[in-house]
């Protein structure tokens, strides 16, 4: 099997997500839908002042999408909105540009376990799968700004 794309962490988190339990009374929510395949991620976020306290996701999608949602929820807990934006850009650069670029990435927070998604870059048709949770995040955080 393709160990390069499907890191064991991706398979594990897709099968047994750690951040998928329903979140009571979220402060903001957002949804990402991929009309090409019908996959969908819904995020519920609880805020603590200017910080993200907790994220829960409900994902109906492939392993790439589901694992990204779970690892994203984990990574963003405790982050400020600005840090979440920065991580979103950094993740996008990981998929679209392939590697961290010191010149543009200097000072940005580390992706941590989300680095496991790096091989998705070689599978152009699957990049949208990994981006879906971030689209949901963007929608959710737009409600904070409003």
């Amino acid at each position: 099997m393709d160990e390069a794309l499907y890191d064991r962490l991706i398979v594990t988190r897709a099968r047994k997500p750690l951040h998928a339990a329903p979140l009571a009374n979220p402060d903001v929510s957002g949804e990402g839908k991929n009309p090409l395949c019908g996959d969908r991620t819904r995020l519920d976020i609880r805020l603590d002042g200017p910080h993200i306290a907790q994220i829960s996701h409900h994902t109906r999608g492939c392993a790439i999408c589901a694992a990204t949602a779970d690892l994203m929820a984990e990574r963003l807990a405790g982050c400020s909105i600005e840090q979440a934006d920065a991580l979103s850009h950094r993740f996008s650069a990981l998929l679209r540009d392939g590697a961290d670029r010191p010149r543009t990435q200097a000072g940005l927070p580390e992706l941590g376990a989300l680095q496991a998604l790096a091989p998705v870059r070689a599978h152009k048709a699957r990049i949208r799968c990994a981006e879906l949770p971030w689209i949901a995040l963007k929608e959710a955080l737009s409600h904070v700004r409003n």
């Binding site: 099997m1 393709d2 794309l5 499907y6 398979v11 099968r15 090409l36 395949c37 019908g38 996959d39 109906r60 999608g61 492939c62 392993a63 790439i64 589901a66 599978h123 048709a125 699957r126 799968c129």
Partner: protein, 417 residues
């Protein structure tokens, strides 16, 4: 399901190795493995006969058609019109004038929706089914919104067949002007009982259109025996090129229908005040058509006819039986639908493995399948699914390739569970 050893032999007069040798692409490798191409329902590969017919046209005998007064134009016109003759024979059309070249089946259906559709009035209805490809749904939705007609949808059974009593009930009030139904589902593989549907439609005063995009590939199509009024198909699924499709319709209908697109080649006389239309089929072929592609489709039709649909259908039926048996052995795999009559298309889902992950992992093993909603979102919703994986078979598919698919699916399942 029966085991593979009980599937009937199908090699009488059908030399699979010789057929495969005519498809240059089948000797390619993907990710270092031999290509196993199980995505023919999306688009089929091309035999040397088609490739060389098109290349030879462009190399030796090409010019614009119909109005040229020079040798090259006359020869190219002959080749283009010869393709029309070949396709008329392929469909057993009563007249070559009933063959309209379009870009694809989608454009052929849009032609009917615009042209025939413009003659419909509010209060009339078009009846489709739950298993339609978007190509045979969206043009009718657009017509409904444009013309104020009603769009009715005949249900399917849980097995994936058209619910014929329900279809007949939807025809009962006599308001349906056209029944537009697939002749073979691109998701379920269901071959629909076209003749029966045509008889029901006609008894209720409706005309009938069959979307033959999948069906023409797998068995002989006789538009007269089917009782069809309109029949559409696309070239690229029939081992021909992209960019060329066919609308067949009864000549009287075509003569009554207004043109679809206006432009060169479709006129008789033109002044600044008005124009009169060319006779069919040219009335419906505005502008320079896909000349090389039509010639390529003619070559494809000749090539398929030379092999013969009896042998093709037997080969593909054996493959489908074998595939259903082998896929039944894959833990957690569920084949979508169980229609009464199935062509060489098998959709499936696997517990705990998303269709996209299946497709990606199969691809890493050189196996091409399709995953998603297959341009049939309402059908997916009816089935309670968001996506399936789909393996589809062509004239060149082998049992070994299906075995490779099944064995790899077992390994994928083991990887994920």
């Amino acid at each position: 399901m029966t085991a593979m050893t009980t599937t009937p032999p199908h090699t009488g007069g059908f030399d699979l190795a010789a057929i495969r040798a005519q498809f240059p692409i089948l000797s390619e490798t993907v990710h270092g493995r031999p290509l196993v191409f199980l995505d023919s329902a999306a688009s089929a590969q091309k035999p040397e006969a088609v490739i060389s017919a098109m290349a030879e046209t462009m190399r030796h005998q090409y010019a614009n058609i119909h109005r040229g007064l020079h040798w090259m134009s006359e020869r190219t016109t002959e080749a283009y019109e010869n393709a029309r003759d070949l396709i008329a024979g392929f469909l057993n059309a009563p007249s070559r004038n009933e063959i309209i070249f379009t870009r694809n089946s989608t454009e052929a259906i849009n032609l009917v929706a615009h042209s025939f559709g413009s003659m419909l009035k509010p209060g009339q209805a078009v009846l489709i089914s739950e298993m339609e490809h978007h190509a045979n749904l969206i043009p009718w939705q657009m017509l409904r919104d444009r013309a104020g007609i009603e769009l009715r949808v005949a249900p399917i059974t849980d097995a994936g067949d058209i619910d014929l009593p329900a279809l007949e009930a939807l025809l009962a009030d006599g308001k349906v002007a056209l029944v537009a139904i697939t002749h073979m589902s691109n998701v379920l593989g269901t071959i629909t009982p076209a003749r029966q549907i045509a008889d029901m439609a006609h008894a209720a005063g409706a005309l009938v259109l069959f979307d033959g995009s999948q069906a023409v590939v797998h068995h002989r199509t006789d538009v007269q025996a089917l009782g069809a009024d309109f029949y559409t198909f696309t070239g690229h699924k029939l081992y021909g090129p992209t960019g060329i499709g066919v609308l067949w319709a009864r000549q009287a209908l075509l003569e009554d229908m207004p043109p679809f697109l206006g432009g060169g080649d479709m006129i008789s006389t033109v002044t600044f005040e008005k124009a009169t239309w060319a006779h069919v089929p040219h009335k419906f072929e505005a502008g320079t058509p896909a000349i090389v592609e039509a010639i390529g489709l003619g070559a494809a039709v000749s090539w398929v006819d030379a092999i013969g649909f009896e042998a093709i259908a037997a080969h593909e039926q054996a493959l489908t039986t074998h595939a259903l048996a082998r896929l039944a052995e894959v833990p957690g795999l569920v084949v979508t639908g169980n229609p009464a009559c199935r062509g060489g298309v098998v959709s499936f889902t696997m517990a705990d493995v998303h269709p996209h992950d299946i497709a990606t992992l199969l691809d890493r093993n050189g196996i091409a399948v399709r995953a998603g909603h297959h341009c049939a979102e309402p059908l997916m919703r009816r089935l309670g699914l968001s996506a399936t994986a789909r393996a589809s078979f062509g004239i060149y598919t082998s049992k070994d390739e299906i075995d490779t698919l099944a064995d790899t699916l077992v390994r994928i399942r083991d990887f994920f569970v």
